[in-house]
């Protein structure tokens, strides 16, 4: 829904209108403008106090040695240099985070798409299924993590019991360096595919004109061909939007690893944000942690830019 409204016509139109016809405010115009500015004042203050101001401070901190108690000491690029050359955990954290993103994003998108497509079929009891699909995504994260830790328990957990029934000896999941990230992926996918992404896909599906689908059916297209050649191409703008947001969100993974493994075993789940948290709030290296935050932003910018570049090749915007 919102991908349309964000890149949609109204904003662009009003922007071009503004550029071609510069603002000339009469007395009434000034009156209106003053009230308009008055109404958005809370946001302007909040933006300066809690977003833009802190961001500037964060840039500054990233060039200092700062532990809150003593004044910040300027150290130039030392933090960034230490990060890439000396910090024993930084590259591990990057590697773990990228691995998690790569493993987590495809099943999340595909799963959400499948959920949306099956929720879009006309079938009895749809509301019940929609609720069942949605519940994992509103289960509080920590509760879901504790439940999954029990499901994944190597000796008494449900998953290894089920695998045992079919003659497979399951790994120790969160306790095994090779399986810890896949375990967190499983947990994360379970907790998200029936949620907001599926709902975005569902509302995009409901925007598809009946006539297109009917035409395909008259031509004798099978259900699968209809999905592959009509539905999914028309959904690509929504898929792109969800993909960008999911990657941004996944890069910031923290809670699951913090609660279930605390970064272990052997730093197998040591995400970048976990590193940031430990540096900032356990060893109070606020300067260094700020530098880590900007590296996170740099990663997000690069990934988002690459996706926008690559999107021309597969995203079909409708003719509207």
């Amino acid at each position: 829904m919102s991908h349309r409204t964000m890149h949609g016509a109204p904003t662009r139109e009003s922007l071009t209108a503004r550029i071609s016809r510069p603002f000339r405010l009469g007395v009434l115009g000034w009156y209106e403008a003053r009230w308009g500015l008055f109404f958005i004042t809370p946001w302007i203050l909040g933006f300066l106090l809690f977003q833009f101001g802190p961001m500037l401070a964060s840039v500054y901190f990233s060039f200092t040695d700062y532990n809150v108690l003593r004044p910040a000491r300027w150290v130039g690029l030392d933090n960034y240099q230490y990060m890439v050359t000396t910090d024993p955990r930084f590259w591990k954290a990057i590697q773990v985070t990228v691995y998690y993103v790569v493993l987590r994003v495809p099943p999340t998108i595909v799963g959400a798409l499948i959920c949306a497509i099956i929720l879009n079929q006309s079938i009895r009891g749809r509301v019940v299924y929609r609720t069942l699909f949605f519940i994992p995504s509103i289960t509080p994260g920590v509760a879901a993590i504790l439940v999954w830790t029990w499901v994944l328990n190597p000796h008494y957990g449900l998953l290894n019991y089920t695998l045992d029934q079919v003659g497979i000896e399951g790994p120790s999941w969160l306790g095994d360096p090779d399986w810890a990230v896949p375990s967190l992926v499983m947990l994360g996918v379970w907790g998200s595919i029936g949620g907001t992404s599926a709902i975005i896909f569902l509302s995009a599906l409901q925007d598809i004109p009946e006539s297109l689908v009917d035409a395909a059916r008259v031509d004798g297209a099978t259900w699968l061909r209809e999905q592959l050649h009509i539905t999914i191409p028309l959904l690509t703008p929504a898929i792109f939007f969800v993909l960008v947001l999911t990657i941004i969100g996944t890069f910031q993974a923290f809670t699951a690893a913090f609660v279930s493994t605390n970064g272990g075993p052997a730093y197998a789940t040591y995400f970048l944000v976990l590193h940031l948290y430990e540096r900032a709030f356990q060893s109070f290296q606020m300067g260094y942690a700020s530098a880590l935050a900007w590296v996170l932003v740099a990663f997000l910018l690069v990934f988002t830019y690459l996706q926008i570049q690559g999107s021309n090749r597969w995203v079909h915007y409708g003719g509207d």
């Binding site: 829904m1 933006f47 079938i123 519940i135 289960t139 008494y156 449900l158 910031q252």
Partner: protein, 288 residues
Amino acid sequence: MSSSLPVVRSALRTFAIYGVYIGASILFVIPFVWALSGSLKNPYQLELFPPEWIPDPVLWRNYAEIWTIVPLGRFMWNTFFIAVLSLVGQLFTASMVAYGFAKFRFPGRDVLFLLMLSTLMLPIHVSLIPRFVLFYKLKWVDTFLPLIVPNYFGGSAFAIFLLRQFFRNLPKEMDDAARIDGAGYWRIFFQILLPLSRSALIALTILGFLADWEDFLQPLIYLQSTEKLTVSIGLRFLAVTASSDISGDPTTHLLMAASIVSSLPPILLYVVAQRQLVQGLVLTGSKG
């Protein structure tokens, strides 16, 4: 044969869809069933192999015990308190800001609006540390203030965006008529816009409550005393401190009981209010 094929095909299709539905539902729900079963066992029953789905005996008293080993009721009350105070500020100021962006013309409006939207993409971590320093200097650490006060400054960009869409879809004649009657902007805001936006405001209330119940990183940073923790942090506190009891037995059964109890408010809220939620979001989003 040719006449029966479509019938067979459609029956097969229905069968396949139901199969997928039911399979998916089981995958989504089974961890809860497993947790519920575990929450009614004792440490000995937890380690039976093969596991019993229906514990024998069923230990309902685990659900009485969780309130005494940690102040779980207190955690839930704290979260509720923070959510309510945050939502009051968020809904009121977000509506104000959305009104400003939707119904007024002023220089720089569209640039500011785009700036606001772009903050949706920024990770919280770039402002997290200076904000912590600010609240630390204000001596607000270990109070609810850092979690509540920022909501009084426009709330979230998402809420502003949604409400602006909603206000723009309301017919302009409505406030023109009010203007001719001599109503000031405040009166239009309070007496026309807010009452008409009930469905959007309700949807935002539900979403806001769910988000506050879920919030982890910020309460983790700001709250320290046990009696001030929120549900998420309190659950983690329980998991860390009570991973085994005094006799060394695992307390998984209690963790499962506490997880289920603390999942109930958001799940019940969603089940009860999902129609309002969908309505509010559809009314706002569908006509960009």
